[in-house]
Symmetry: C2
Subunit: 227 residues, 2 copies
Amino acid sequence: MLEMRNLEKLYQMGDVEVRALDGVSLTIAEGEMVAIMGPSGSGKSTMMNIIGCLDQPTRGTYHIFGQEVSRISEREQARLRNREIGFVFQSFNLLPKLTALQNVELPLIYAGAGAKERYETARQTLIQMGLEQRIHHRPKELSGGQQQRVAIARALVNKPSLLLADEPTGNLDSHSSVEIMAIFQQLNRQGITVILVTHENDIAAYTKRIVRFLDGKVVVDQKIEQN
Amino acid sequence: MLEMRNLEKLYQMGDVEVRALDGVSLTIAEGEMVAIMGPSGSGKSTMMNIIGCLDQPTRGTYHIFGQEVSRISEREQARLRNREIGFVFQSFNLLPKLTALQNVELPLIYAGAGAKERYETARQTLIQMGLEQRIHHRPKELSGGQQQRVAIARALVNKPSLLLADEPTGNLDSHSSVEIMAIFQQLNRQGITVILVTHENDIAAYTKRIVRFLDGKVVVDQKIEQN
Ligand SMILES: Nc1ncnc2c1ncn2[C@@H]1O[C@H](COP(=O)(O)OP(=O)(O)OP(=O)(O)O)[C@@H](O)[C@H]1O
Ligand SMILES: Nc1ncnc2c1ncn2[C@@H]1O[C@H](COP(=O)(O)OP(=O)(O)OP(=O)(O)O)[C@@H](O)[C@H]1O
Ligand SMILES: [Mg+2]
Ligand SMILES: [Mg+2]
């Protein structure tokens, strides 16, 4: 489903070169559920952004659904981002002037859904996240964990085939985290490929493979026995 | 050092009243180290904002350093916020156009420190956070955990007598979290009062008292044996 070869991402800061990714090769098959771990600053979000077609590598190649992303048209990349990929961002990236409901409706607008269907689907997804009483709140009228759950709802609402979640439980208590991971596992059983970044071993335990980063490289790549 | 009595914080959303705080009474003595826990949306950040003089309750009283905050002048509240209180926000609140170093220098500007001293103090605090190589990066050129550590550095740089940290390790790997908690414990041993919100039991274990919220109320308030 997706294959990265020798990915590098370099930033030039004056005369210092920051190697955010320093030669990453990784293949993830359809239907896998993978945890990406590693210290702060080791390149996890950078790789997630490249996987999600939101950023381009400096060197190396990236194939998704059999196509090399640097050769795909802008229009097709946008289609992939909006229809095939759901992304939960580390900093949520909710639109501050829209309500929770409107934020979750956005991907459905791109997908061409009608107003009534959009409203109902967005609302149901927010209810699934425990946010029924908060659908008309704007982000600043929500707690941190509520904003995180809106970001998760938005990523799921289009039923993407690839779900990318960058620290999706960072602001959630253990009860909400367990609920979110149960939802992710259920989606994975339905065939959705799930890649999530986490710092927590408890969360990684819900996945079937752990990939560890250090200084922009993959240093561990291990299948795990699930309980 | 700080005393809250019957605090309420209510938001009117159309014809629905949201009770973010629903009668909270809490006393925290100088030199304590307290963990605030509880489900997403239970009122923790709301209470932290009131403690930090960033928000006013709808009802109830709040005394800090022996003064009732609603009776303190705007000018004195600003002085408390800038000189006595260090706040690590759940969403960091870094200024996007400033570098890490400039963000950390801000409280020192309020405190009237000279340029050379500011630069050096801010830089040392960032080095203590493991960010020596990132001091001239702007927030969008930093990883999530690096931004969180800049927010922590900014809260500490003025040597406040009260440190408020709202989920300070949410984006940090366990190694960085251990380092941050060691710093907080060291500050506490020097006499600084530390109140931190966390979802993680491992982090709460570094403190001496756990206060649990549920639906805007305190439901547990328990001293803990430290290891
Ligand atoms: N400006 C606002 N208008 C309306 N409701 C609000 C506003 N700010 C917060 N709330 C509501 O108040 C409640 C408490 O919010 P708060 O941010 O204190 O929760 P929290 O305990 O910090 O949660 P989390 O662990 O998710 O960060 C939430 O249900 C939230 O939706
Ligand atoms: N625009 C940029 N310019 C310069 N350096 C950058 C930029 N974006 C990221 N970096 C650097 O690249 C490195 C990797 O960042 P990345 O966000 O991928 O880390 P991460 O593994 O997600 O960390 P965290 O766990 O803290 O979220 C970091 O050291 C960061 O400072
Ligand atoms: Mg990251
Ligand atoms: Mg909060």
